[in-house]
Symmetry: C2
Subunit: 390 residues, 2 copies
């Protein structure tokens, strides 16, 4: 059993009637705010107006960085950092999904560097302990960025998509109103749901000999939540209970409650970040394509019991003493969930992706060394997994 | 589904090799520390010496409040507050179980009042937003006080045992090394384990229509942890895995992870606090006596499905369509766990308690109004439950 540090300081206001607390939380920190958001859906659904009015009424001065991309670019974060420096911004307010929040974190970190450039922090793997405070208003259940200390930033010039981490990147406050995700398109709902699922499964398989039963069971509960509620939210976008379950699952999946002594794995995330970096595809979709293949690839007598257990506990398959057969059925059930229930296209070729960069992507994903986990994976392994996804 | 605020800021160092971080965490706050501890078991097992040496080596000045009682008295907390005022203490360091940590919180709150008296805060139900910072070194898995915002303080002159709550009472840092609980006697291990169990069950029964499936399943996972590991820790006091599972369950049970939108119930705790206030019995033992009787008393067609589910999910009973019969079996299984597995004496009369104060206790427990929960309970109900415990 491993030692661990548990620190989960983000304060979350969850529910329908919480946004009124925004001004008081901002005013604890300052009066000059950079609002960060994406393509403007928050202008269509009224959230922008609600927030702007609240801030104006409370004498909070606002500046704006809009047009954050789905895989947020370092150049966009840098643009925000320049505004922060010029306008002496006190805090960064992200309004959107994971990409927007990630970008806001990049802005917050870069704003306190001399040259306002986030990329050296990202590419050098700097652990960020100094950043402007971030407050997040979440509109999409997916990345967990609303309460964790991570941001993923893309550099399209170098085809790199890399995580930036640090204790200073944990939002000080997050607002999670499931209603804000009502207008999310079905495809985005499905992709977000699988992102949540994968955050847990990437970790689950390492848990066997490292952690508490309780944590393993928590992980299964979160995955079951996704399996149960994602299809409901897809069919009934304004089903509050479905949106709420997904939103809280998003936060629980990465706020370290499910870690406690486990070694946090990220094989699928590393595989997928390369796909997004080269092809700018939707993260959750890439994960759905990669995950069942990864499981198939790592399946052997040692990993079979854990994969078999996933089938029983998460997909309700019958218990069996034949772990290998059970594991194969579990992978089938997962594939069925991804490609039928969530309706995501199953192959890279469906997204216009061929073998052209597989070797580069595999090597790049392993640039920091072999990928740890229940089964160590090197570049040859990853290339093989990419081929299975074609 | 209810709105809620989730805030769980305590930083926990969990495991065998973490105490070395104590000086750096103290020095972030100050250099003058009041060490609070109980009857001296930390002197026997070496923990006192370890901590004192670490603090001395780092130029941290220490003062002491020792002899904290199992049901900590307001007079003891006040003694500590006077030391804080006189010696200009920067932070209160609790070393012990829940009683010691609760007392330290009382000290921390009273130290910042004009007259240094904790009792007006307790008796007036003041929500404490100003207190000296508390760091906790936990030696007993039980109350959850190491990461929550509550303290229970007793006034033996008035036979009152009351909770004091507040955001300022959440320890800023907690150290949880399961080895520190190795020397805990079997009886205390059993009582602590049932305290954990009850923190969850007091909440579980309210969850049905108020919260996420995920949270209900988290609650069951924590209760299963207690059922599985308490008997192991009792038989093998130095079983690290058992002590670690209980310790993390203690923190998870009350650090608000299991709350998320539920209405936090506390019927059994209110019933028990009266017993401790009048008879100074061990809290966890009182809870074990009260809980099965409370379940029996509230069992009806409306509550049966939840109680039946407890039997299936936590005690591994067979699923049944007859909820009433299933619930009865669940209560039997719980009684068996309390009185056979944990070995706690089943009746109040075993502890020398008679009917003499039942009416007073019942009325006092309801002084703030009927006890909410799946079934509202008034003084007559509580008196009846006490009688069932004889």
């Amino acid at each position: 059993m491993n030692d661990f540090i548990f620190h989960n300081p983000a304060k979350v206001y969850f529910g329908k009637n919480q946004i009124g607390h925004l001004p008081e939380e901002i005013l604890k920190i300052g009066k000059r705010v950079l609002m960060v958001y994406g393509g403007g859906s928050i202008k269509k659904n009224g959230l922008y107006d609600t927030v702007k009015k609240l801030l104006d009424e409370n004498g909070i001065e606002t500046f704006e960085l809009s047009g954050v991309e789905p895989n947020p670019r370092h150049t966009t974060a840098n643009k925000g950092a320049q505004i922060c420096k010029k306008e002496k911004i006190d805090l960064v307010l992200a309004i959107g999904g994971g990409s927007t929040i990630d970008c806001a974190k990049g802005v917050a970190a870069a704003a306190l560097t001399d040259d306002g450039d986030v990329w050296p922090l990202v590419s050098n793997g700097v652990w960020v302990t100094k950043a402007l405070p971030v407050i997040a208003i979440l509109t999409n259940a997916a990345t967990g960025s609303e309460t964790d200390g991570w941001a993923v930033i893309s550099n399209m010039e170098t085809n790199e998509k890399i995580g930036l981490g640090g204790s200073a990147l944990i939002p000080v406050v997050a607002f999670e109103n499931p209603e804000y995700s009502y207008t999310l398109p079905t495809y985005q709902t499905a992709c977000g749901a699988f992102d949540i699922f994968n955050h847990v499964i990437d970790n689950y398989y390492l848990a066997g000999d490292a952690t508490f039963d309780m944590i393993l069971e928590f992980q299964e509960a979160v995955m079951r939540t996704v399996v149960k509620w994602a299809p409901v939210a897809m069919k009934e976008p304004e089903n509050y209970e479905a949106r709420a379950n997904l939103m809280w699952a998003s936060s629980m999946a990465l706020n370290t409650v499910l870690d406690a002594g486990t070694v946090h794995g990220c094989a699928c995330h590393l595989l997928e970040h390369e796909l997004s970096a080269y092809y700018d595809i939707t993260h959750g979709h890439g994960l759905a394509i990669v995950t069942p293949r990864w499981l198939k690839y790592i399946l052997d007598e040692k990993t079979a019991p854990a994969i078999c257990r996933l089938g029983v506990k998460v997909f309700g398959l019958a218990e069996t003493t034949d772990a290998m057969a059970g594991a194969e059925k579990a992978i089938e059930a997962l594939s069925d969930f991804c490609f039928n229930t969530l309706g995501l296209k199953p192959n890279l070729s469906d997204l216009g992706i061929g073998t052209e960069h597989f070797r580069d992507m595999a090597e790049h994903a392993c640039a920091g060394g072999k990928i740890s986990g229940l089964k160590e994976l090197g570049a040859d392994d990853l290339e093989e997994i990419y081929k299975m996804c074609l």
